[in-house]
């Protein structure tokens, strides 16, 4: 079976997506991507799914919307379906009923009525075929987690450094799922960038082996590394204002999604001094500062 290529240029993603052809603008799509990825992370954790399975669900969902439009497919329902499929794909299946019930709770903070539950279940089971078919049954999803862990284990000998670096890199990987990196770059390339960002953030020096740059084995160019780092860091600068309609929730909604903890760090990417970027790294701080 011919394997389809699931990689696109940034321009293809931004200009030619099916959603764009249906009149949904880039900002909206970027925001939706952020929303369903965040939702899937939360849903997966509530379901006690392994991170691999969560990451797979997010990537499946992103891939789905490279072929189908947000105007015709509700991203919440598609995310729920992707979580259901990802569980099976990664060998940690969750029953459809559980996925639906937990998803409904996460979305609405209440239990679904019997009728709503049944209808949603029907939709998910029918939609499963739509998603599988749209994805052409390409279900082997690779992740950057293992390359990151393997490399750190091999290359960083001080245990404490390795721990801090792993943690920081993994956080960048998980956060990076919310943007379209997985549609542009291969897992090993994303892995290299996460190590780089992690080391800058955790102030762990990366080994230098003469002329051989450390990222060579990740099959990534300087330019790609720079691009991935940039896009990842932009994530923390994005201010997604939650559209608020509900008066009572006004105060909470007024907050921007980029978070409370802002930290200024200087990141030098590929030898160039990049601007000082506002980075909100939430709970990461506690892990890396300790």
């Amino acid at each position: 079976m011919v394997k389809t290529c699931w990689y696109y240029t940034k321009e293809e993603i931004e200009k030619n997506s099916p959603s764009r052809l249906d009149g949904i603008d880039l900002k909206q799509e970027t925001f939706q991507r952020w929303s369903y990825s965040t939702f899937l992370q939360e849903l997966g954790q509530r379901l006690n799914n392994p991170q691999i399975s969560i990451a797979t669900s997010i990537i499946l969902c992103q891939q789905f919307f490279t072929r189908q439009s947000l105007a015709k497919n509700d991203p919440k329902t598609i995310s729920i379906i992707c979580m259901f499929i990802a569980g099976k794909v990664e060998g940690s299946p969750r029953q459809v009923g559980d996925v639906i019930a937990v998803a409904y709770r996460v979305l609405n903070d209440k239990e679904p009525s019997r009728e709503v539950y049944e209808r949603l279940k029907e939709t998910v089971l029918t939609g499963e075929k739509l998603v599988l078919s749209t994805l052409g049954f390409d279900l082997e999803i690779e992740h950057p987690y293992q390359p990151v862990m393997d490399w750190i284990k091999r290359s960083v000998k001080v245990e404490r450094d390795a721990d801090i670096l792993s943690q920081a890199a993994l956080n960048f990987l998980n956060d990076g799922l919310r943007i379209s990196l997985c549609l542009q770059f291969r897992p090993s390339q994303i892995a290299a960038a996460a190590i780089y960002l992690g080391s800058s953030f955790a102030k762990v020096k990366l080994p230098c082996d003469g002329d051989k740059v450390w990222w060579r084995e990740f099959d990534v160019t300087k330019r790609q590394l720079w691009e991935i780092c940039n896009q990842t860091l932009d994530l923390y600068g994005q201010n997604f204002l939650i559209p608020a309609k509900d008066e009572q929730k006004q105060s909470k909604d007024a907050e921007t999604i980029s978070c409370q903890d802002h930290k200024r760090i200087v990141i030098k990417v590929a030898g160039k001094s990049r601007n000082v970027i506002k980075v909100s790294l939430r709970n990461k701080l506690s892990a890396t500062n300790s």
Binding site: M1, E42, D109, T123, L132, L173, A287
Partner: protein, 501 residues
């Protein structure tokens, strides 16, 4: 255009061009299989005229949607590309209004079935071996064995365990090519050897001792045991270890290979079920004695395959280097092998019906039928001659066949595509009795199911899609990152994701 409403899905449009095609691209020619797994059709791709096998993925009993076993099989098959591994060509979906689906017609594009499209194979090894009067030559057996080992070596290199190696899963086309089929039980063992694997795999007769003793950590050696069983079966012309249940299976293994102890198999006494199955008295290894009619190199290789301790069992790679494959008579070129008329369900079915009528007529005349001995003919021992058609008496479906009708037992050779799993299947050898049904069609025919008993196999009808075989699943987020356990954003609402109700 606004965003889709909650629950809205694009179900009306046909799948986008990059997605799976419709089954309408194929013309179903005939049904060639029927099993618990689903129906199998021989079909023609309309555009190209190419003949393929369509395996319908059964969904009607799946409360959990698309079966996880099918997902696993698809993932593995998409990864494997080798001339000795069955090729999954594509996956197609049928529109809602499907002839095979009962129930009310539905225009919904995604209510219909899903089919896996495979290259078409004419036979399976068991079906071929069971043809009355058919003898495999030594170069032919070497040729099949070499292909089997080559395909399996490829799987093992790619960290895939087949976990159901047996004759009916070894498909053979009319060009002499052998391919591994049915990856429904296969398992990827990539970078998590720590996980527990189910030991309820591999058809009983081909199941290695470590699984029977309850091992949940195992590797490629399990497939090599099955290969040993098949190898001996080809030379011996009948299955060598036809146990009826797990206990008997283990006993048969011990009777042939000796009973294991800490000397020959370090660690065996710590196997989970060792105490339950420990034979009362030690038994001697009798492989050499039992198969003394095999040639020296064959016996040498078989001895290395049927090793009780999996860590000492020969690997596929090393087996390919065995003297056996490099001494005269050499394995023949697949292309030099004779072609056989493929036996499709509809042909054999008709013939069987005819046969039954004949038999009944005969019974009415109180004619005693001779016991049908259907053991295969042993291979021709002389090598080096041409292996073309003259050596082969024609199969029962051959037009020139003169064989008496009651010998028509070579069933359809399509077990791989859809065979019954679950309760012990019928035995292909009359002496062991004919239970229930087998093959693809309803089971009123003479023995046709070639599946050895599949005791409590993971795909038995009682086993739910999630019952077994998920042992590698590690709970908890190994890559969870820090501080992700709690929702960093506070409440759990639509708002948090920017979604409004």
């Amino acid at each position: 255009m606004a965003l889709a409403a909650f629950g809205q899905l694009n179900l009306e449009e046909p799948p986008p061009v990059w997605g799976s095609r419709s089954v309408d691209c194929f013309e179903k020619l005939e049904q060639i299989g029927e099993g618990t797994y689903g129906q199998v059709y021989m079909a023609k791709e309309i555009r190209t005229g190419e003949i393929v096998a369509l395996k319908k993925i059964r969904m009607d009993n799946e409360r959990e949607g698309f079966p996880i076993t099918a997902i696993r099989e698809i993932k593995i098959l998409k990864k494997l590309h080798h001339e000795n591994v069955i090729q999954l060509k594509e996956i197609v979906t049928s529109p809602g209004r499907d002839r095979d689906d009962q129930g009310k017609p539905d225009n919904n594009k995604y209510k219909g079935g899903i089919y896996m499209v495979f290259e078409y194979m004419d036979h399976d090894l068991t079906g071929l071996a069971d043809r009355p009067g058919l003898k495999f030559t030594i170069p032919q057996i070497k040729c099949y064995m070499k292909q089997l080992l080559t395909g399996l070596h490829y799987c093992h290199v790619n960290q895939v365990l087949h976990r159901d190696i047996k004759g009916s899963n070894l498909l053979i086309d009319n060009e002499g090519n052998l391919k591994l089929g049915d990856f429904g039980l296969a398992r990827s063992i990539s970078h998590d050897h720590t996980g527990n694997l189910t030991n309820r795999v591999i058809t009983l007769w081909y199941r290695p001792p470590e699984l029977l003793l309850g091992a949940t950590k195992y590797g490629p050696a399990i497939d090599m045991w099955s290969v040993g069983c098949i190898f001996a079966e080809l030379l011996h012309a009948k299955p060598i270890l036809p146990g009826k249940n797990e206990h008997e299976q283990l006993n048969k293994i011990f009777e042939l290979c000796g009973s294991p102890d800490e000397n020959i198999w370090p660690g065996v006494s710590k196997m989970p079920w060792y105490k339950n199955f420990k034979p009362a008295r030690p038994m001697k290894r009798r492989v050499r004695e039992s198969f003394r009619h095999f040639d020296r190199h064959a016996l040498e290789l078989l001895e290395k395959m049927l090793v009780l301790d999996p860590s000492q069992r020969i690997s596929a790679k090393d087996a390919l280097d065995a003297e056996y494959f490099w001494t005269d008579p050499l394995p023949c070129d697949p292309k030099s092998l004779p072609t056989y008329e493929s036996s499709h369900e509809f042909q054999t079915k008709k013939k069987r019906q005819q046969l039954r009528q004949n038999e009944e007529a005969a019974k009415r005349q109180k004619l005693q039928h001779p016991q049908q001995h259907h053991s295969r003919l042993r291979p021709l021992q002389h090598g080096g001659q041409s292996h073309a058609a003259p050596h082969w008496s024609a199969g029962p479906n051959h037009p020139t066949n003169n064989a008496p009708p009651q010998q028509v037992q070579a069933g359809p050779s399509h077990h791989f595509y859809g065979k019954p799993r679950g309760p012990p299947g019928p035995n292909r050898y009359p002496s062991s009795g004919n239970q229930s049904r087998g093959g693809y069609s309803s089971g009123s025919y003479p023995p046709q199911g070639r599946g050895a008993p599949y005791v409590a196999g993971p795909r038995g009808p009682s086993g739910g899609a999630y019952g077994v075989g998920q042992p590698n699943y590690t709970q908890g987020g190994q890559y969870g990152g820090s501080g992700r356990g709690q929702n960093p954003m506070g409440g759990s609402r639509n708002q948090q994701y920017g979604w409004q109700q």
